[in-house]
């Protein structure tokens, strides 16, 4: 039943034995120990499990691990480079864009994909593009402020 696949996550290649019905979320968390990617609903309704596949945001709870073969997967653990926080992460720390923090990895990954596509979004555009990520603590204001703060910090850099 199980099959061996190779997943490229955060620049490393992992050989894992998975069932065909296992989601990417399950494999990331349970087999690769990358628990920064969160499970909030397992139904594609909350965005907590968002990761990047070839630069685009995907809900890892709705994706089978076998379908992620051959893609470049980036999780929250792979966002900072050499111990240096990504500008988005820095901005969330400084501007208080998190409280309990459970939705935060998914929110930051979505924001990364949004800013890569539209480096200087308007507040309205950003709000719409962040609509798939639920947060129950912040009321979104400081989340949005943090993302807007990061656009200035990134200055076009990705």
């Amino acid at each position: 039943m199980k099959q061996a696949i190779a997943l490229e996550v955060n620049g490393d290649t992992y050989e894992v034995l998975v069932s065909p019905n296992q989601t990417l979320l399950e494999v990331l968390r349970e087999k690769l120990g990358l628990t920064g990617t969160k499970k909030g609903c397992d139904l594609g309704a909350c965005g907590a499990c968002t990761v990047l596949l070839d630069g685009a945001a995907y809900l890892s709870c709705l994706m089978l691990a076998v379908d992620a073969v051959g893609k470049k997967i980036v999780t929250i653990e792979g966002l900072s480079q050499g111990g240096e926080l990504h500008p988005l992460q820095k901005s969330f720390v400084e501007l208080g864009g998190l409280q309990c923090g459970f939705c935060t990895p998914g929110i930051i990954m979505t924001a990364k994909a949004v800013l890569d596509e539209e480096p200087q979004p308007t507040e309205e555009s950003l709000k719409k593009k962040m609509a798939g990520n639920l947060c129950r603590c912040t009321g979104y204001k400081k989340v949005l402020d943090s993302i807007m703060g990061a656009t200035a910090r990134m200055g076009g850099e990705r």
Binding site: E30, A45, L85, G101, R136, G139, Y140
Partner: protein, 775 residues
């Protein structure tokens, strides 16, 4: 498990009170490094899950587990017969079985517990368990439940389906209405509200070789959990250890037992292997607690000049089949039923009622959200009748320090309702409201509504609201705080670092946090009731001052200074200002014995001193609080006449929060509370039909998203609270109370319709706009 949280990469400079210092937990949370209770896995982990009754009311005739037991990969299947303890849990009244024995009383009741090698096996085994239930008629309405002949949820309860009832009369009670010039009546209905934390109920447990069961759980109440678990499954208190990491959201839904007892029971049957349980979203919605739905009957009387004179209210709270915290929630609602107004005569009656609906429990603002939704609409209805400005009416009746609430509690602490109202009164959203309303586009109507708020903190007069703070100078020269109160996301752990860091003049890199752990930290009560930073912070100030003196004394001895007078703490060291001599904290830490470099301090919160004419039971349930926050909210809304959709365009709040120790965290709390309140007001429609949940997931139960959230402004009104740490009052809950009435009042201002039932969905608004009855 139970690691120490260290904090790197923060900016230089000592911590101080009043600064928006980045949160201590932020770095680990933005990198995904923080380990929540959900984030533990190991190769030998056993998965545990629950078979639920799935019927609202029935007698258990049989539980057939043979097939499940025989399935490959199943380790154990347990029922109530496998429990050695009381098999009962509950915070006040122990009326909830861990595993149902005689009856199921709501659809979420747990009947059997399965342990399996993996999750797939677990799900298959749960399907193989068969239940023989003899259906009983259920009771699903609070007022029906109180009638003679209603089906009984607990046959042995002396009060029938009444869990707790309360009656308070002050002044002349009802007869005072005869002297009123205007009397307004209203009947309000508020729905369940689901906490919808992103992290559902989760934890893991393991029995050690010495027999002790260690539970790591997403919980607000590790110390109380320990006692509940031990009693329910028949262990000694010392055989249970509960560790509480940062939660992935809680809001009251983790104020008490969720997975803890089931996990401990499972750990007794897993041959020493770790056991994990993680409720699915649907399971969380069905089995978890909710904000109590209420039916509220209000009658408010005033003199012709707008001076309030009499209040009568009947409050019905649906607690579902178990107390959980229902009686306490109802009692806090009762205390706030008349708001922060001078009302000399009142008759208040309240019932907390058993039904076969989902379990009512703690939810941020704990009953006050419901009564404020009613009372603050009553105030606007009265203002309309009197043709007075709603804000002027509130100012005219607002309580000030030294006055009594309508239940007879004297306001002894800082009382800033008037200041909050005045801040809103001067704000452009208020002063320029007529022009803004007039600028509404075609098929749109605009309105502005306000609400005045009060919210008491702590446990009330009888149950001691205390904390025990412990702090240590480590041999490495770091300051380690043993946090007794859970940080469920509100940032109190960071506030602890800021408080101790400011007293000891250290920076964040020097601060270490030990999160609540029944073996390592000291009992300090629950993470609830707007008490976390107030109560624990006060205890921590005491402990930090003791440690400061010890450090300076030791430094004086080692530096051969005549006294501590010239010594001062600086980041990482003690400095002699007279001589310039220095000694690093790491050296002091090594030279001091453990007992010298550790300090503890206890604090117990003050309580209301009034001798209220109420039952001892009501006092036990919390009536009478001393520390109260206040607020004034304003909502500016635009209503779409075609769809009935209500858009909240701007939202303003002014909050009497005492001193804001960290303005960024203060704003986070207010924003979050407003957003949850807006969800309660507009979207969150938790549907239950005959005890069955019809909105079991985040696709059918709609919580606010980024585009739903207005521009929010949250002004702090920093009146000094003399009993608070550095003058602080708790603001974890108060903001949740404002949006429902402020938006309802804005809707009335925009369209002349009054919504007596929440949430104000487009469908209901549209029906109201067409003059039809809403349901």
């Amino acid at each position: 498990m139970g690691e120490v949280r260290r904090h790197k990469r923060h900016s230089e400079g000592a911590l101080h009170i009043g600064a928006s210092t980045p949160r201590a937990d932020a770095y680990a949370k933005v990198t995904g490094a923080e380990k929540f209770a959900a984030d533990y896995y190991s190769s030998d982990m056993v998965w545990a899950g629950v078979k639920r009754g799935a019927a609202p009311h029935g007698v258990i005739k049989g539980i057939f587990t043979d097939e499940a037991c025989k399935a490959p990969g199943v380790i154990a299947v347990l029922t109530h017969r496998d429990i050695r303890g009381s098999n009962r849990q509950g915070v006040v009244r122990k009326d909830q079985p861990v595993l149902a024995d005689k009856k199921v009383r709501h659809c979420g009741d747990a009947v059997a517990l399965v342990l399996a090698e993996d999750r797939e096996t677990l799900l298959r085994a749960l399907d193989l368990i068969r239940l023989d239930l003899e259906a009983l008629p259920g009771v699903f309405d609070v007022e029906e439940a109180l009638k003679d002949g209603a089906p009984l949820v607990h046959e042995d309860n002396a009060g029938g389906n009444t869990l707790l009832e309360a009656h308070i009369q002050t002044g002349d009670g009802l007869t005072a209405f005869e002297r009123c010039d205007e009397v307004i009546e209203g009947r309000f209905e508020t729905p369940w509200q689901e906490h919808a934390y992103l992290e559902t109920e989760v934890g893991w447990a393991q029995q050690q070789n010495d027999g002790k069961v260690v539970i790591v759980a997403s919980t607000q109440t590790p110390f109380r959990d320990r006692a509940e678990v031990a009693e329910a499954i028949g262990l000694d208190l010392e055989q249970v250890r509960v560790i509480a990491p940062y939660t992935g959201g809680a809001f009251g839904g983790k104020d008490g037992i969720t997975v803890q007892t089931l996990l401990a029971l499972a750990a007794l049957h897993s041959n020493g292997r770790p056991v994990k349980m993680w409720w699915e979203r649907e399971e969380s919605f069905i089995a978890g607690t909710k904000r109590h739905p209420t039916r509220l009957y209000y009658r408010l009387g005033a003199k012709g000049d707008g001076v309030l004179h009499a209040l009568a209210a009947r409050l019905y709270f649906d607690t579902g089949p178990y107390d959980h915290l229902g009686g306490v929630v109802m009692t806090l609602a009762l205390e706030h039923a008349g708001g922060a107004y001078r009302i000399p005569h009142a008759l208040l009656d309240a019932w907390c009622v058993y039904t076969n609906n989902p379990i009512g429990g703690a939810f941020r603002a704990f009953g006050v959200t419901q009564v404020t939704a009613a009372m603050e609409q009553m105030m606007d209805m009265l203002a309309a009748r009197l043709d007075m400005d709603p804000l002027e009416l509130r100012l005219k009746n607002a309580l000030t320090r030294g006055e009594k609430t309508c239940v007879g509690v004297t306001l002894t602490g800082s009382t800033g309702l008037v200041e909050c109202l005045e801040r809103v009164e001067r704000h452009p959203l208020r002063t320029e409201r007529y022009a803004w309303k007039a600028a509404a586009g075609p098929f749109k109507r605009r309105g502005v509504g306000i609400a005045a708020l009060m919210h008491a903190a702590g446990y009330g007069t009888v149950v001691p609201d205390y904390a025990n703070a412990k702090i240590e100078l480590t041999p490495e020269g770091k300051i380690r705080i043993y946090c007794g109160v859970v940080d469920m996301g509100q940032g109190n752990a960071s506030a602890n670092a800021q408080i101790a860091g400011s007293i000891l003049n250290q920076n964040m890199d020097s601060m270490e946090l030990v999160l609540p752990d029944t073996d390592r930290t000291l009992p300090s009560g629950s993470a609830s009731a707007s008490r976390c930073t107030y109560t624990f912070g006060n205890a921590l100030i005491g402990a930090a001052e003791i440690l400061k003196n010890r450090i300076l004394q030791k430094a004086a001895d080692l530096l051969m200074a005549p006294s501590t007078d010239d010594l001062t703490l600086a980041p990482g060291k003690v400095v002699n200002r007279a001589t310039g001599a220095q000694i690093p904290l790491s050296r002091l830490g090594r030279l001091m014995a453990e007992s010298e470099r550790t300090a503890i301090s206890h604090f117990r919160a003050p309580v209301a001193k009034d001798r209220l004419d109420v039952t001892d039971e009501l006092r036990l349930h919390g009536l009478g609080h001393a520390v109260i926050s206040y607020g004034a909210h304003l909502a500016a809304v635009e209503v779409d006449e075609i769809t009935g959709a209500v858009e909240v365009v701007s939202y303003l709040s002014a909050t009497d929060c005492g001193r804001a120790l960290n303005p960024q965290i203060y704003e986070q709390q207010i924003h979050g509370g407003i957003c949850q309140g807006l969800g309660f007001a507009l979207f969150e429609d938790f549907r239950v039909e005959q005890g069955t949940v019809k909105s079991p997931d985040l696709a059918t139960y709609i919580i606010p998203t980024a585009p739903d959230t207005p521009n929010m402004e949250s002004l702090p009104v920093e009146l000094h609270e003399p009993t608070g740490p550095f003058g602080l009052k708790g603001v974890g809950e108060i903001a949740t109370n404002g949006p429902a009435p402020a938006v309802a009042n804005a809707l009335a201002d925009a369209c002349g319709i009054r919504m007596f039932r929440l949430p104000m969905t487009p469908e209901r608004v549209l029906l109201a706009l067409r003059g039809r009855e809403t349901r």
